[in-house]
Symmetry: D2
Subunit: 496 residues, 4 copies
Amino acid sequence: MGKTVIDVNNNIPFNNNVDYCVGTGRLGLALTAEYLEQLKLVQKEIGFKNIRGHGLFCDDVAIYQEYEEDGITKVEYNYTYIDRIFDSYLELGIRPFLELGFMPEKMASGTQTIFYWKGNTTPPKDYKLWTDMVIALLKHLRSRYGEEVLDWNIEVWNEPNLPGFWYKADMEEYFRLFKETFTAIKAYDERFQVGGPAICGVNDEEWIQKFLEFCKAEGIKPDSVTRHHYTVEFPERIGHYDYSKLEEPVARLANLQSTRDIVESFDEFKGLPIHITEFSTSYTPKGVIHDTNLNAAYLAGQLSHLGDMNTSYSYWTFGDVFEEQGVPFTPFHGGFGMVANGCIPKPTFYTFAFFKQLKEFGTDCIFRDDTAVIVKSDKGFAGILWNIDTDDFTRTFTFPVSGEYTLITKTVDEDTCNPLKIWHDMGEPPYLTKAQTELLRDCAKPLFGSDVISAENGKADISLTAKRNGVVYFELTPRTFTPDRGYDYDKVLSFH
Amino acid sequence: MGKTVIDVNNNIPFNNNVDYCVGTGRLGLALTAEYLEQLKLVQKEIGFKNIRGHGLFCDDVAIYQEYEEDGITKVEYNYTYIDRIFDSYLELGIRPFLELGFMPEKMASGTQTIFYWKGNTTPPKDYKLWTDMVIALLKHLRSRYGEEVLDWNIEVWNEPNLPGFWYKADMEEYFRLFKETFTAIKAYDERFQVGGPAICGVNDEEWIQKFLEFCKAEGIKPDSVTRHHYTVEFPERIGHYDYSKLEEPVARLANLQSTRDIVESFDEFKGLPIHITEFSTSYTPKGVIHDTNLNAAYLAGQLSHLGDMNTSYSYWTFGDVFEEQGVPFTPFHGGFGMVANGCIPKPTFYTFAFFKQLKEFGTDCIFRDDTAVIVKSDKGFAGILWNIDTDDFTRTFTFPVSGEYTLITKTVDEDTCNPLKIWHDMGEPPYLTKAQTELLRDCAKPLFGSDVISAENGKADISLTAKRNGVVYFELTPRTFTPDRGYDYDKVLSFH
Amino acid sequence: MGKTVIDVNNNIPFNNNVDYCVGTGRLGLALTAEYLEQLKLVQKEIGFKNIRGHGLFCDDVAIYQEYEEDGITKVEYNYTYIDRIFDSYLELGIRPFLELGFMPEKMASGTQTIFYWKGNTTPPKDYKLWTDMVIALLKHLRSRYGEEVLDWNIEVWNEPNLPGFWYKADMEEYFRLFKETFTAIKAYDERFQVGGPAICGVNDEEWIQKFLEFCKAEGIKPDSVTRHHYTVEFPERIGHYDYSKLEEPVARLANLQSTRDIVESFDEFKGLPIHITEFSTSYTPKGVIHDTNLNAAYLAGQLSHLGDMNTSYSYWTFGDVFEEQGVPFTPFHGGFGMVANGCIPKPTFYTFAFFKQLKEFGTDCIFRDDTAVIVKSDKGFAGILWNIDTDDFTRTFTFPVSGEYTLITKTVDEDTCNPLKIWHDMGEPPYLTKAQTELLRDCAKPLFGSDVISAENGKADISLTAKRNGVVYFELTPRTFTPDRGYDYDKVLSFH
Amino acid sequence: MGKTVIDVNNNIPFNNNVDYCVGTGRLGLALTAEYLEQLKLVQKEIGFKNIRGHGLFCDDVAIYQEYEEDGITKVEYNYTYIDRIFDSYLELGIRPFLELGFMPEKMASGTQTIFYWKGNTTPPKDYKLWTDMVIALLKHLRSRYGEEVLDWNIEVWNEPNLPGFWYKADMEEYFRLFKETFTAIKAYDERFQVGGPAICGVNDEEWIQKFLEFCKAEGIKPDSVTRHHYTVEFPERIGHYDYSKLEEPVARLANLQSTRDIVESFDEFKGLPIHITEFSTSYTPKGVIHDTNLNAAYLAGQLSHLGDMNTSYSYWTFGDVFEEQGVPFTPFHGGFGMVANGCIPKPTFYTFAFFKQLKEFGTDCIFRDDTAVIVKSDKGFAGILWNIDTDDFTRTFTFPVSGEYTLITKTVDEDTCNPLKIWHDMGEPPYLTKAQTELLRDCAKPLFGSDVISAENGKADISLTAKRNGVVYFELTPRTFTPDRGYDYDKVLSFH
């Protein structure tokens, strides 16, 4: 490729909200040690602000309880586990994004369940029981965690447009659930933030349109509109695994734009926040692509654009403690996580780490195209380069600067950070020994590089190589050279 | 290069005793947190059995105390600090190699001191005070640590053949010190292990010869002979730093052989253990070469041969907490350590880690030349390749095996693990921020690679590349392929 | 009370095997962080060798899996979770005591389940599926953990004499299960240790008798006989809680003796180890007595005798992560554990800690009655005093010794270590804040005391006070007085 | 004693600034692991904001360096160690209170030194060298730690009114040092906070008076006045130890008032902050009283009043890593610290912990006399009771409240928390084993108590007992009783 000249006066809209939220396996799993270790790693190296998952009201969390007394069925609530879970989150610096669901078995109107862990996905047998439980929980959370709870996002249910997640995908019934819930919460305290309809990509235009019409008709103003975003075709299932083709990245972004367009078409809802409360490539927890370097590169492309029409977007999920399709048989089983079981970062982990580092470096975007994004700040320049399944390439960027610069690069590609390959070459052991786990952790690191760049004639060129499925983060910062008395690096290298 | 065919029936003597002992800055520094963090890292990743340093009897450790009572000067001992130090060592799984020295100021016959920290290097004013102190210490150690103390190595003084370390380098006086000490200890318990004369490379042949003649004449049989081994020419000092040329590695090994030859020439001492109680390239703590990849590669060559004529050899030193020439001004100041201040591993750290991994893999050597060593065990094959300052090269080894093998490689070279260069490119900051320290730690890792090797016609070829100043560790082990039901790695990579 | 003169030549049989084994909530709970923290505390302060719990084959551990292929149902096993669980145990220095049960849902012949977590308690639909699963597991464990697995205890099922735990409490069917399992394991490797019948105290004499008759008739020699031991009357249930009266301690021991007598009545089985694989006071996880000081004192009495007729005895359970009756509503809910949720030690925790300290001090028992036990060793004397719900008392023991002794005492009673009371006085908060949890942890410590005991005329008296429901541990060891130069403790205290 | 009726409308001035600052052994010791562990404990349980110690410019910290170049002596600075030290402080949440001193050997005008560690206490040979060094340090600190450095307190030298600390205790010369330093710093940035004269109690009135006259005459307005405060008579030294009588506590406070009076007598300096930059009972690091419960009780009395006339007061010192009089021979050697070596809290540790807890509870003082202080807040009431060497006593306080209250008490006295006695009873072992250290740590805890207090007729009585040399902390807070369904504490205790 030729040189790309960077215009530092560009001001490209780039809502890099990579760290706003991340997805999780059902909340009950947050009691487990492996889950917490993975989340600790993710928070240490990336640091998300919010976390969203299913199962808040499922029976393993055990909030809703009934008992008989004097022949009457009475209700009591148990917050032992949800406190333990949310305490852990807050200790790790991450706040709950409350997805209200699914249905406690004893409150359910039917027996339909979803997943290996059998979340009941039917409406409540009595909406009063439901709203009482929701309000009681919010009161409890407020008494425990204080007024910050008012700022936590609340989302009503998950993917009601799929019959597995909501009995018959009954739109009317979902709108009722939304209205009852929304109204009860706002009656308790109107400052709570309540959104929906949390749909997946099926019939999304119709659902969003009707949802907003419903809200308008009912005089309801949700605090946000929520939906999901997955980017593969229907998978082929073989044995325990799902193989699926990636969709063309840009085409899928157009689908997201349509949601924004619908929202903007309502005067009442113009400018409402849209939260993509789940996104990934494959939508199954056996989607083999999740463990690959291709996934990492593809997501770099997504992360460079998801903020264009959305307030936030939450990767589904931070780790591989999951269980929707049962207990995995191997560490690399195509789980949704950025981190494989055994606390092994997958390449995608670094895509998120790099976009977070980019955000911390600066948010003034001065360059973006389909393989790179660059920002500036008073520290200098930083950027990310990616290669989605094309031949290796090298790009040269020309910065209009003078003086000496330090270039630091961090590279994740199939040669430098590829635990899946090493695991495969080891024979695909299903049950890792401690030594194998450590080896896989040790190999799952970026490769660091550095250079001194001297500008000439007011220009400095940096050349960066992105191998197939590689992601490269770089920082270019003015270099203050402060050699100690008598230290001469060139002499160090040559004198022997 | 052509292929190198490996004869697995070879049985090459290879005393890989890389983990026997490591050197340390003076013992008093073992009270500090930075020292202990570095040692913890070294013990976790390498794991040495013994540790040897100066300063056991120096005043900062405070063992020897005098006080006046009734007009008389009396002696008392204080073990508060030495207990704290040795407790730390034993908790980290490393045992003291006791170097007896230097002289407590109040016991000294003169005022000559050495180093920034002023170790007194004169004989005792009264040998009885000295031997009393030594025996009292051994008794105290035994009461605290039990009978294992009998197995700790004891060495009398350090480099008495240098006038800085021993007043006038007075050979007669050293022999007296040795005899008094040796005799007193053996009188206390003859099971203690006592050696000397701990000389550096100056006049070594003369000193070893005369030391053994003295022992023979006196009817003394030391438990070991000890000496040092450095491999650079006289340095050029510029500002705070020392630049020196490496000596030809093999020539220097011949000098070690001469010590072995002298020992063997005495019927009484034939086969005595020889401990190289210090070795490195440069012999100064400002020797800039220590921080380089060249140092790592050169030492690989040394480690492949040092066991040929010696029982053990102790790298000087594990870390950069040192102070002999004062407090360093920067993190990369040519300190002796494998680990730079800030707990940053230098390339040489991995040379030791790799030789330790090799030892744990197996000790049956089947190949060794000037750039490689290979062992076998029931687990398969492992080896190390190195490149001492030559052009990049690739070697192919042919193993007479059948079936499928997993090849794992770990590479440390100027491109993959070079914290010195990144620090230089950053501008050589003298006082690292936390972020800089973390970056330098993160970059100081080997690069991992893997491959599946299929033998054909009873032969398997592996090709390994050693770039200039690179060190490559590999393991070649039979691969048991256990893919899970439905998992197809090739399909994972191609299906998108 | 008068003085009790200790005869140091006594040799009282006292099989103090307090640390042999401890019980746990179902194995699946070992994946959780709270569970592991509690176990870590228990292992650090007490240190058990084995751990036994239900649920090895329950579906949350997910070992047994079926799938369809080509229209045929096939079996596969999943060891992901059990490896994680057992890895955690071994890291904490505790080994599994394998209780084989309950039935995977898909292998079950019926739908009967037990507990909140729905363990299926029916026989297998096909005994071949069962024994295949057992043998496959043992092979897997052996490949992962090595030959030590041969030493792990194996017990067939749990409490088959109760219809809730084994369909209809069908004795014939249990004997079949035992025989099929025993025979299959011994056919695989006869060195495995297999025992049963794991009964509770209902119809115990009949079951033990018939079990051994069955074994004799079938030519089977089990490696141990196992049963349980609880010591309360039938509880009164009020709301979430069970209140029950303690039985007279000695009477209950007689019941244990009857098991031993039956075993000894068979020539073939004389001397077989008897493992009490569960014991406690109350047999419900809502048994309010568990959290009291009375429980601690009562158990001291039990621990002083349980080894008389049994090889081992395993307290049910180490911690309060349990769930058999659902999720607890408060931290002090009468759970079985020595440790309450929030990692708060209950008084009973220290009864076990004290008996473990006693065991480590020595095993030569020289005194035992209904409120005290004393041992000697070359270190001196140690003992435990307890008071089961009587008025405060002080006992004086006279030791036939000379010289000076140090007496150290550790006291746990209602005044010194009573977290339940402090929690009650706080208002019985159901959901502890972090500060409340820390306060409760801090208060749950023994009170330490010390004294210098000077023998006179070859006798030394020590007086110890056990308040109601108190447990007191003491050590009496010869005192070597080594005051430093100028230090005078009496002067320190008086000089002001 | 009779009842003490508390008037909750009282508003008693009580400047409880217990956590403002704490003293430390010389800064160079902050490199050691034992020091940092002790400080970590202190910060976790108490939490001070600032830390002050000697030795900033002493040669072990190595800031000031000279070298020859081209025949000229040049100056360079080395911040390697001071950065490491201050990084540690800030990580532990404590900020440096910069005491400028003592003199680098090469900058000194004389050879007089103080202490085992030989701090040079002579004026600079050239004041320009001194102020250059000071300003260079402040610039360095600001570049590393940012603008918060402007808020760090700066104090010029230590105890210049003692000839050991300042050559000949030369007042004129000190005033020159102060002026040169003050002027240089303010010229650099006037926002820095600079105070003096840091005198001990000898000739304090004269020094403070003349210091302020000097400042006035020179037109200097220091940011604070600093002095020290010790409360024992001249000690008797026996062997390694110092025995001294305590002074009457109130008399000593009068001496502090005199400093305040002098300050207030200058219009220019009225209201200036006074920092007691050192206080304790004994002023020697061998002062045996430091380890006693008496010390803890006496200091409670001091802490209840030190804020009356002073802005802050800094206990000398947090821990026993010290070395001014050499290396201690035993763990309980009368060191200044709240924490003994081995990280064993002394009783005094809890006096500070209790006053910190009191401060966090509330600062509105409603009662104070010579054995107690009580505050109120919206949480309820909290207070501290102490007994300075009198017979045990019980006090009853009557609070004008209604409803039910929880009383929590924490007691430290000779029976409940007395590691010195247990160590003595053990025989005063000089070198603790790990087990002994753990025992001493475990015994050094407060005893917790609790009660439910029911007000009657608008009054609630609480009775607290302070044994001789005891310190008791209490909190009295409204009790919300929330028993779970079916839980009846009285029944729990009685039903067996």
